[in-house]
């Protein structure tokens, strides 16, 4: 029995991204394509997203010119491929407050948003620090926090403290404190609805960028494979590794069930298709009775 269909929806990409940004320590190892995606989780009762992408209206052109971000498509266009509109989305889990995950909230007028309270509290603290500590504020757009307060005033923002089970039936939120960011969060879908699930999927946010963060060559320490953190840890690489271990544990150490969203190689593991707009749709799993969207 599976309650939810899960699809990773690409909405933009960077053709050439330094590998060292993806994988800690991979200096001078060239470039990889970096897709930008959000995750659609859909049941008979709910349409949920993990993250919302960046605010193209404010920054799209700047990003395109400065970093070579290409082919941005709006949620309206991306979700239309799934037979949905942004208005259909009722729940959004924001894994962390970086502008490319938390920037586009205005496009979802009917959704209730969830974010870790720790993430907001520590950003407020970081914002109060002098310029010489500004590294802690990277990738946060002050305007995103303002958009967040508008959601809060409308009663559409819930701040979460630590782990919360069954935010939607079978969907849990987990805090990875002081890891990629102060209060990064991952989303666990127990797709059979059981407390001890045999059908668990983990949506990793930026705690894992690509499969290589879970299965990297471990010859440097004399093992076949080892976890290796992403290139950016505002907290610590240790906490990234411990979060990876916890995510893997939840899936029974089935690495292909921890889903990274900057991973071009999803195509090698899951059925997928390229939309008319040139963006990939990866079908992670289907709910009972649901039709495939990639055939």
């Amino acid at each position: 029995m599976a309650d939810y269909s899960i699809h990773v929806l690409e909405y933009s990409y960077v053709p050439e991204y330094h590998k060292s940004g993806v994988l800690y320590g991979a200096h001078n190892e060239g470039y990889v394509k970096l897709p930008y995606c959000y995750v659609l989780i859909r049941s008979a009762d709910h349409v949920a997203l993990v993250d919302v992408g960046y605010n193209h209206k404010d920054y799209g052109q700047h990003l395109a010119e400065k970093f070579g971000v290409e082919n941005w498509r709006s949620p309206k266009v991306v979700l239309a491929e799934m037979g949905l509109t942004p208005e259909d989305v009722d729940t959004i889990f924001v894994t962390h407050a970086h502008f490319d995950h938390f920037g586009n909230v205005e496009d979802f007028p009917n959704a209730t948003f969830y974010i870790q309270r720790e993430e907001i509290e520590k950003w407020v603290w970081a914002m109060s620090l002098p310029d010489r500590l500004k590294w802690m504020m990277i990738a946060v757009d002050p305007s995103d926090v303002l958009r967040g307060v508008n959601l809060a005033a409308q009663g559409r923002l819930r701040t979460v403290e630590g782990s919360v089970e069954n935010v939607l039936p079978g969907i849990d939120l987990h805090l990875a404190k002081d890891s990629h960011t102060f209060g990064s969060m991952w989303v666990t879908v127990r797709n059979d609805g059981k407390a001890q699930s045999d059908d668990t999927w983990v949506l990793a946010g930026d705690l894992v960028y690509q499969f290589t963060n879970i299965k990297n060559d471990g010859s440097v320490v004399g093992v076949d494979e080892m976890y290796t953190p992403v290139g950016l840890a505002l907290g610590s690489q240790m906490n990234l590794l411990l979060a990876t271990e916890e995510m893997m544990k939840q899936t029974g150490y089935d690495a292909h069930r921890v889903i990274p969203i900057h991973e071009e190689g999803l195509a090698d593991t899951f059925p997928c298709r390229i939309s008319d707009e040139g963006l990939r749709i990866s079908e992670i799993c289907l709910a009972d009775g649901a039709e495939s969207f990639v055939k």
Partner: protein, 182 residues
């Protein structure tokens, strides 16, 4: 934008501000005028502080609005709030004391207004926390001041002078990208 222009194009709608009647262009224009350069260099740190104070006040208000338990009034973290208030006061001092060349008069007026909007938002939050007001109207008032501050923050950005609301150079998913060579 050309190499010598510091600001958005004069026709860009980002500059359509209510105080359009004021003298001078909002953008202090070129990088060849030492007085303008001095002004921008002095104001840059204060601009950064104002942007961060806007985020602090927004975050503090967000946390207060979403606090569990709810009830009447606003459950304010006074420690965080006091820091934001003090930093706002410092930035206001800088804005008030900078020498303003004619080229930057509208820019400076907009910055001054930005600081005033933040001060008004802070007063509103404080009143709600003191339970002098806690109604929908007071909440909307704070949001209105914060939104106006944000609009002014974007309008007064001068990317070529390092005056920007977001440091994209270090974005998690856009740093370390091979920059287009064209």
């Amino acid at each position: 934008m050309t190499g010598t222009q510091r600001l958005h194009d004069a026709t860009c709608d980002v500059w359509d501000l209510p105080q359009a009647g004021a003298a001078g262009d909002l953008h202090p224009a070129t990088g060849t005028d030492p007085a303008t350069d001095r002004y921008l260099a002095t104001i840059a740190p204060a601009y950064g502080v104002l942007g961060r104070v806007m985020a602090q006040l927004s975050g503090i208000f967000l946390l207060a609005l979403t606090r569990d338990g709810g009830g009447p009034g606003l459950h304010l973290d006074h420690g965080m709030y006091t820091i934001a208030r003090d930093q706002l006061a410092e930035a206001q001092d800088t804005v008030a004391s900078v020498t303003v060349p004619e080229t930057a008069r509208r820019h400076h007026a907009a910055l001054d207004n930005l600081a005033a909007q933040l001060a008004a938002a802070a007063r509103g939050i404080e009143r709600m926390a003191a339970r002098m007001s806690g109604d929908e109207h007071a909440r909307r008032d704070v949001l209105r001041h914060l939104a106006e501050a944000q609009r002014l923050l974007i309008a007064t950005a001068e990317p070529d002078a390092g005056i920007t609301p977001v440091d994209f150079d270090n974005a998690c998913c856009s740093c370390a990208v091979r920059k287009p060579t064209a």
